[in-house]
Amino acid sequence: MATGTETTTRARLRWGLLDVFVVVFALVPVLWIASLSFKTPATLTDGNFIPREWTLDNYKTIFDTDQFVRALVNSIGIALIATLVAVVLGAMAAYAISRLDFPGKRLLVGVSLLIAMFPQVSLVSPLFEIERQLGLFDTWPGLILPYITFALPLAIYTLSAFFKQIPWDLEKAAKMDGATQGQAFRRVIAPLAAPGLFTTAILVFIFCWNDFLFAITLTSTERARTVPVALSFFTGESQFEDPTGAICAAAVVITIPIILFVLFFQRRIVSGLTSGAVKG
């Protein structure tokens, strides 16, 4: 095989072109919506990819409206609480699954797999009715509960993959050194599992942050409405102006945290997603 410099240069060029294609494919829609959010109402409809006139008015508008700020608070609060609970419960279950021997383990793994594949829309109607009766409809807990449920399989799979990578001998060693099961977990396993917990937390947060179906069916007012839903209801309200600019600005605002996560934790997100889903 010829491996001269010419071939490698050509290979680099080919890979480079492919890379550029991927990056463009991935980023164009994001940049487009960012571009729209900076356009003035006059140039909004010019169809130009790069704004001719730049403005921050759209951002001012959304942060002035109670509607968006409330939704943002709801989104952050609900996603954080659901993430915290799902990761804690998921870590407990994943530890038991990967480390302990007890009857019913396989059943739990099977059930959580089923839930991961479950058509969420099938739950929408009974949950709608049940939550109405229990007074959970249009409240934070009303959204947090289904989020935890659907995030748990993800959390359990990812975390048990992480737990399995921790050498089993370490826990045995801790036991031989005089630790109880609990001490072995707290002092040896948990510190080692921290990166896994963190990765899982990011994935679960993205899931909760993203959800639209539950948010739109289980809320009706600003009390618990999250940003994705608020966006779809941004129809200008009493304002006469076109809401496009505002929607785009809001979209950019809720996209920023995700982009930051992806930038900083790319490697962890990849390992979390793949370990959870493939090695399961």
Binding site: P167, D169, K172, P191
Partner: protein, 402 residues
């Protein structure tokens, strides 16, 4: 410090496999005992049961006279060194070694003092503030040992502690382990699959196969007086040669010529149910270049001639490989040993003979050479059950014994 007693200990897994079968073993206070055998022979399971990391299915385990079957590892007061070392990666060397003491709720001063002491013994003092990731394999191994000795437990359990080291370091650490054990005088159970470690380290060696104990005794005794074919083949490197032998007219017909039999063995073979085919075993060092044998020895042995295949000169002596014609010795034990060595389905035609000859022997590859072997040192095994027929009251007596 304490003695450890295993009384008819069994381990049966939920899927029905029996990993350990009726193991009886009494380990005296301060003794260094090696559990050895091919992989899967139940040695590690036995160790884990002593540690409390595996449940005992039936039988009794006593440490210091006290039944501990149902005690958690932390209540047994024994320390363990793992093959993987199992150092806590998030803790420094000092924290690793202090961990068992902190769990025992000792005060800070005592902990520091004990850790420093142990670190000095193992020459770890300059490494105390490093993390395991920044240590070499040998250093990690020493930290693992340090963590075990620091709390002065009743007993040490070691699960192949040296097998992750390279060959040279392993030899070095072997003496460290040996010296440390003598110094501390702590009862030690050491698991290994390496027969060299087993021979060099322990006061006594326990050879296991298929979950059952095959023979227990001091290393030299196992080497000289193996109770059965498996022990004979497992102990020794290069291992014992095994040849097919047919019983004929009060003697044995083998590829090395007709071997005469002494009265005792002959009597045994005259029994109605005695085997007609045997396996003859002979260790490499019991061969010698026929030219170099004096008259006195010559009478105690037999000579044969065979083509030389390979000569490995070790300096002090020569390993010479001969090809001999004739049927191969076959038995379940031999197949198992070959499988463990990874050579189950790979061997040339005919039998190979490994001999250790004096360095002075002018033997050369390609030629044919006359070789003498000592009849007093050969073993005869029953292929059906592996029993050593030359063994009399625990001592091997060769083929000629009366």
């Amino acid at each position: 410090m304490a003695d450890i007693v295993l009384d008819k200990v069994n381990k049966k897994f939920p899927d029905g496999t029996v990993a350990v079968q009726d193991v009886d073993l009494e380990i005296a206070d301060g003794e260094f005992v090696i559990l050895v055998g091919p992989s899967g022979c139940g040695k590690s399971t036995t160790l884990n049961m002593i540690a409390g990391l595996e449940d005992i299915s039936s039988g009794e385990l006593r440490i210091g006279g006290q039944r501990v079957n149902d005690k958690a590892p932390r209540d047994r007061d024994i320390a363990m060194v793992f093959q993987s070392y199992a150092l806590y990666p998030n803790m420094t060397v000092r924290e690793n070694m202090a961990f068992p003491l902190r769990l025992a709720k000792l005060d800070k001063e005592t902990i520091n003092q004990k850790v420093d002491e142990a670190a000095k013994v193992l020459e770890l003092t300059p490494l105390l503030d490093r993390k395991p990731a920044n240590l070499s394999g040998g250093q990690r191994q020493r930290v693992a040992m340090g963590r075990a000795i620091v709390r002065q437990p009743k007993a040490f359990l070691m699960d192949e502690p040296l097998s992750n080291l390279d060959a040279k370091l392993r030899v070095q650490m072997r003496t460290v382990v040996s010296r440390l054990q003598k110094q501390l005088g702590t009862t030690t159970v050491y698991v290994t699959h390496d027969q060299t470690e087993a021979m060099t380290l322990g006061d006594r060696v326990v050879i296991m196969r298929g979950g059952a104990v095959q023979q227990v005794g001091p290393p030299q005794e196992l080497y000289d007086h193996p109770r059965n074919l498996f022990v004979a083949g497992f102990i020794g490197s290069p291992s014992m040669n095994f040849l097919h032998a047919a019983v004929q007219d009060g003697g044995l017909r083998t590829a090395l010529g007709d071997v005469p039999l002494g009265d005792r063995v002959r009597r045994e073979l005259e029994a109605a149910d005695a085997p007609r085919e045997l396996i003859l075993g002979i260790r490499p060092e019991h061969f010698e270049d026929a030219e170099l044998v004096d008259e006195e020895s010559r009478r105690r042995g037999l000579e044969f001639e065979a083509p030389v295949e390979i000569v490995e000169s070790m300096g002090s002596d020569k390993y010479v490989y001969f090809t001999v014609e004739g049927e191969k010795a076959s038995a379940a034990e031999l197949e198992e040993l070959a499988a463990d060595a990874g050579a189950a389905d790979f061997s040339g035609a005919g039998s190979n003979l490994v001999t250790r000859l004096s360095a002075e022997s002018p033997v050369a590859e390609g030629q044919s050479r006359r070789v003498w072997f000592n009849l007093e040192k050969i073993h005869l095994f029953d292929p059906a059950n592996g029993r050593n027929l030359t063994l009399h009251e625990g001592r091997a007596a060769g083929a000629l014994a009366d």
